[in-house]
């Protein structure tokens, strides 16, 4: 009996360890309250500080469930960026020096080079006008009524939403790190 319990406990432990190993990590881009459910009306359970490395557990609309230490809760989706922390996260006020030092930068899932050659300036500069391709493009064009019917088929309806204002400059110091311009 004891052996079975121990074996069962071991299996559960291994399963938890496996789930932990597969959890997607992310970094808090800003302070955000962790809530018991997805939505601003849900109870606050903790505060996730910007720069903290967390595990991402689930997503629901504009909210994502995270685990920070032993606490789990829901924060705004855009308060977290999934994957390893970026250098841009540690410029200016974001993140601690300690986190930055321990950050496994650029170890995401798409790090291997493809060996495929992409478009470059030489290709684009040498491009010749292709009238037949342009005809093909015209042939597939959609008129407004067609697009509206296509949207309606999937239950899409238009809704009002104001454009977003530009955030204050230099909110994220270090944008130039990757700018390349």
């Amino acid at each position: 009996m004891l052996t079975e319990l121990l074996r069962g406990g071991l299996l559960i432990g291994l399963a938890l360890a496996s789930a932990r190993a597969e959890a997607v990590t992310g970094v808090m881009l800003r302070d955000d309250d962790m809530r018991a459910a997805a939505g601003v009306s849900a109870t606050k359970v903790a505060l996730a500080k910007k720069g903290k490395i967390i595990n991402v557990l689930a997503r629901r609309g504009g909210w994502t469930q995270i685990q920070l230490g032993t606490v789990s809760g829901w924060v705004r989706l855009l308060s977290v960026r999934r994957g390893p922390a970026s250098r841009t996260d540690y410029q200016g006020s974001l993140g601690s020096a300690e986190n930055a030092a321990n950050s496994p930068h650029d170890t995401g899932s798409i790090t291997a080079t493809s060996g495929l050659r992409g478009l470059d300036l030489v290709d684009l500069s040498a491009a010749k006008f292709d009238a037949k391709q342009l005809e093909q493009l015209e042939r597939h064009a959609s008129v407004k009524a067609d697009a509206m019917a296509f949207a309606a088929q999937a239950g899409l309806t238009a809704r009002s939403l104001a454009y977003l204002p530009a955030p204050p400059q230099n909110t994220f110091g270090g944008l130039d790190v990757f700018g390349g311009q």
């Binding site: 478009l119 009238a131 407004k144």
Partner: protein, 299 residues
Amino acid sequence: MTRLSMLIVLSLVPAWLMAAGLNDGQPLRLAFGTPPQRTEPAKPPEDATKPQSESSAERLLQALLAGKMSTQQEHQLGERIIGNLLGVAPLVPDDGLQRYINQVGRWVASQSERPDLDWRFGVIESEDVNAFAAPGGYVMVTKGLYRRLNNEAELAGVLGHEIGHVMSRHHVKLLQRSQLLASLSGALGKQVSDEHERLQSIIGRGAEVAARSLDKSSEFEADRIGMVLAARGGYDAYGLPLVLQEIGHFSEKDDRVALLFKTHPHPDARFNQLAEAVGTRFDALTEGATLESRFYRLK
């Protein structure tokens, strides 16, 4: 996609010229041209390489320099650029795919302030992860970027970004700056008598305008517009930032993102900017549709 690229000219633009009312650093005021009368897809010209009239390119150039291009002139300019781009990266030969991206794109564009442009969308043969916009309503997405998308909402967000460039006339303003510089150097129209060559001289060699960098503020602005247009269309508002998050994981050494990374702020920085712009503004926004099941998969 975004995903779309501009480097050479902007680095040459003197500060005094930027200060003379041509700086895109501030949110752009939208100008509304006369909506085109055409509502059905246009039949292609018998020979699209021929200019529409003997002086159309010259009139287009003058309108560009004066910042008073008509919608038709924008379309003429965009047609030339995209015709060249298709010469190096043709459309993916899949009618279903091309129809699909036009239906999604037209719906998203219908949420913009320029719904009646002759919008044209396409998926082009390139493993690059990128997307391109041209004046007048042209938007191309590479196969390499399309393959990275998970659902229709993400496509809507990417298209929304490009529609934002067209809506705000970012590339028109880029070409205007380069032509003003050319006029200052006395190089404008020099030794060019052929109309076809003159139109080409406005946009540069081939489709190299697609490899020029817009300023960062234009890219960030297009991201904000793209997110809102997708959400206005009933889609999940978060498609675009999730795509940026995905692209941000590419190695900077990967050839497939070389052009995108060269001409745009890093996707991580763009995600951060979007996050900051949204803040708590979407807290009350109802959940949009992702339409993963309807998303057209590449064959």
